[in-house]
């Protein structure tokens, strides 16, 4: 069973070097997305691609390979 604890205990993917959630980049990665949706839609929240694990995930996720982005 998953642990229930405070999110601030671990850094989030949104601050990770491997995480890419720029809507323009997402639209390029998923070319058909703009046909009937958008990278800039609210439903997408701030989800993005993890370049390390090749996953599409939420910006509030986290992992042991987290590498803080210099920005």
């Amino acid at each position: 069973m998953s642990q229930v604890h405070n999110q601030r205990a671990t850094p989030a993917c949104r601050d990770c070097l491997h995480f890419e959630n720029d809507p323009s980049v997402i639209e390029k990665e998923y070319p058909g997305l703009t046909a009937m949706s958008s990278g800039f839609a609210s439903v997408r929240a701030d989800d993005g691609l993890c370049r390390l694990h090749d996953l599409y995930l939420s910006s509030w996720d986290t992992c042991s390979s987290h590498a803080r982005s210099p920005a």
């Binding site: 601030r8 850094p11 046909a35 009937m36 839609a41 989800d47 939420s58 509030w60 390979s65």
Partner: protein, 595 residues
């Protein structure tokens, strides 16, 4: 139920107009035998007050959690709109402006304590791909780099709200000042010969130029904020505008119905031909913003729907849509699993087929931490089926002579994406009339469609995402990757343009209720509602054309046989079940012009 609450009894003969303000007089008519019931303006006012109270309660409930979690929008923007800037006016810091409740104060203290703790906290144990599994509690706070206020200008949903409501407010300001924006909301009128068309286009040439410039001035900054380069957007939008004008004119040919020259279908077909056979430079995509245009159009559509209708018909729409969504999702999910597909792919496919198409697929992909290649599979299948259904659903509805409202309801229940569904609903609505024998009006089809699609399906994407994320973390992560579940995603993923849709409806309902039916038909309809309707149709036309222009077959990945099969089974179930509910179960309800 509303009648029972308000008037102490249930009266099935009670009716509400389905399409915009069609029967204001009848709406306020006292029911026979309903002694003591509110009538006329009082009754309309009580309905609006009832609806407003419900919305405020819902907003307040959703706000509490978001405020606790430090969501800046929840700490001011939306509540300011709803509550009339009661608290937020003149303050830039919400925390200073609103005395925190005991719970909020505790949450803030806890956050401050944890801020220090966070820096030295070791990472949690992970699974084989290194993703930490956890469920964040409602007391948790978002990290400092959360999007926050940026959402208000970086998401196209919010831009649709600003532009749509801005248009409604501007239209009302002109109307109140004794003028109208009709001059600006120019559109081709009915014509029968090319010389007639040429004559009216020539006569209105100046208005079209001004209209284009105004569109450009309003849309370009919005496009720039959502990542489009203005120097690419301007020529691209010119291209879209000119083609849309041609489509608009073609649709108003008096023989258009005879040759099926409906602007949505024509726009889609033209766009598909241009993008797939002729080809366009990629930079022109800057102006082909399907979702942006459709959201602006839906907010404007809200201004032509009585708010009381949304409150009254909404529950039926939600029930109907929920039944189909849950069944369709279950079918796609279980067929996918039977075929041996990964459960995350099954969830993404199911959401795409059951909730709101591509938007739902991409939202759920993020919520369940899908593999990178899963979303494109769902996107390809949704777009393929949605385009097929744009043509098929109106065709079948026409063959069966379904009333416009019923056809709209069916399309709203079974189509996948907002833009595709609106194209189909508008196509079918335009067919209504004595020439075709299809009962109803175009607005009826749009109203029924929007109620089911927007209120019944789109609104719940955050809930779907949350539930699936919970399942992914608590059940699937034992064998696969896990992740975090944040309750506030219900708010983050909420399609915010729906807020604009509801506010626009509420605004015009409040404006209209002050007029008699005679004044409404004589003054309000031509001076306020008609220009908003014309601008709405422009926005929809931009979107329909953009669907075709952005649908490039070569861009779509091969979904594979198994995902295709699973999705196809779900689509068929959705279509059949949607037909049963829209036509056989709720048919009389959606067919009635007076609901």
């Amino acid at each position: 139920l509303r009648n029972r609450f308000l008037f102490g009894q249930f009266d099935q003969s009670r009716t509400v107009p389905l399409f915009p303000f069609q029967d204001l007089k009848g709406y306020g008519r006292p029911r026979p035998g309903a002694a003591g019931a509110r009538v006329g303006r009082d009754r309309r006012l009580s309905d609006v007050a009832c609806g407003l109270t419900l919305v405020l309660l819902l907003v307040w409930r959703s706000q509490i959690r978001a405020i606790r979690e430090g969501v800046p929008e929840a700490n001011g923007a939306f509540s300011s709109l709803i509550w009339g800037w009661l608290w937020a006016s003149g303050t830039s810091d919400r925390e200073d402006a609103i005395p925190p409740s005991a719970g909020q104060a505790q949450a803030r203290q806890r956050s401050r304590r944890l801020a220090k703790f966070r820096l030295d906290t070791p990472l949690k144990p992970t699974n084989h791909v290194g993703i930490v599994s956890e469920v964040t509690t409602t007391e948790d706070t978002v990290s400092p780099s959360a999007p926050g206020w940026k959402e208000l200008w970086s998401k196209e949903d919010w831009w649709a709200v600003w532009l749509g409501l801005g248009t409604v407010i501007m239209a009302y300001a002109f109307f109140k000042g004794g003028s109208t924006i009709s001059w600006l909301a120019v559109a081709p009128a009915k014509w029968s010969t090319l010389s007639q068309l040429g004559g009216q286009l020539y006569a209105d040439a100046g208005r079209y130029v001004v209209q284009f410039v105004v569109f450009l001035v309003v849309l370009t900054p919005a496009a720039a904020f959502i990542g489009q380069k203005p120097k690419a957007f301007v020529p691209s939008f010119l291209f879209v505008y000119v083609l849309s004008l041609i489509l608009f004119a073609a649709g108003n040919w008096d023989q258009a119905n005879r040759y099926n020259l409906e602007p949505p279908l024509l726009g889609l077909a033209l766009g598909l031909v241009i993008s797939n056979l002729i080809g366009l430079p990629k930079w022109l995509d800057a102006g082909f913003r399907v979702e942006f245009y459709i959201k602006v159009g839906i907010v404007l559509l809200g201004a032509t729907l009585p708010f009381t209708l949304i409150i009254w018909a909404g529950p039926v729409a939600i029930i109907q849509a929920s039944i189909v969504s849950i069944v369709t999702f279950s079918v796609i999910f279980f067929v996918s699993r039977r075929l041996g597909l990964d459960r995350r792919l099954a969830a993404v496919l199911g959401a795409g087929g059951a909730v709101c198409g591509v938007s739902a697929a991409i939202a759920v992909a993020g919520a369940v931490r899908a593999k990178k290649e899963y979303a494109p599979i769902a996107i390809s299948l949704v777009v393929l089926w949605a385009i097929v259904l744009i043509f098929v659903l109106p065709l079948v509805s026409r063959a069966m002579h379904l009333p416009a409202g019923v056809g709209g309801a069916w399309i709203g229940t079974s189509e996948f994406a907002d833009a595709a569904g609106l194209a189909a609903a508008q196509t079918y609505g335009n067919l209504a009339g004595p020439e075709t024998g299809i009962p109803g009006t175009p607005d009826q089809a749009l109203a029924a469609y929007t109620l089911i699609k927007v209120i019944g399906r789109d609104m719940w994407i955050g809930i779907w995402s949350l539930v699936l994320a919970l399942i992914a973390v608590t059940k699937w992560e034992k064998q696969e990757a896990g992740g975090r579940v944040q309750v506030s995603q219900i708010w983050w993923r909420f399609p915010k343009f729906i807020i604009g849709f509801l506010i626009a409806s509420l605004l015009t309902t409040l404006i209209v209720h002050a007029y008699t039916l005679g004044d409404y038909n004589k003054l309000v309809k031509p001076g306020l509602i008609a220009p908003i309707t014309a601008l709405r149709t422009w926005a929809f036309t931009f979107s329909f054309l953009s669907i075709g222009l952005t649908t490039r077959v070569k861009d779509f990945v091969s979904a594979g046989r198994k995902p295709f099969l699973a999705f196809a089974v779900g689509a068929i179930v959705s279509i059949v079940l949607g037909f049963i509910l829209s036509v056989l179960v709720f048919g009389p309800y959606w067919a009635s012009t007076d609901l």
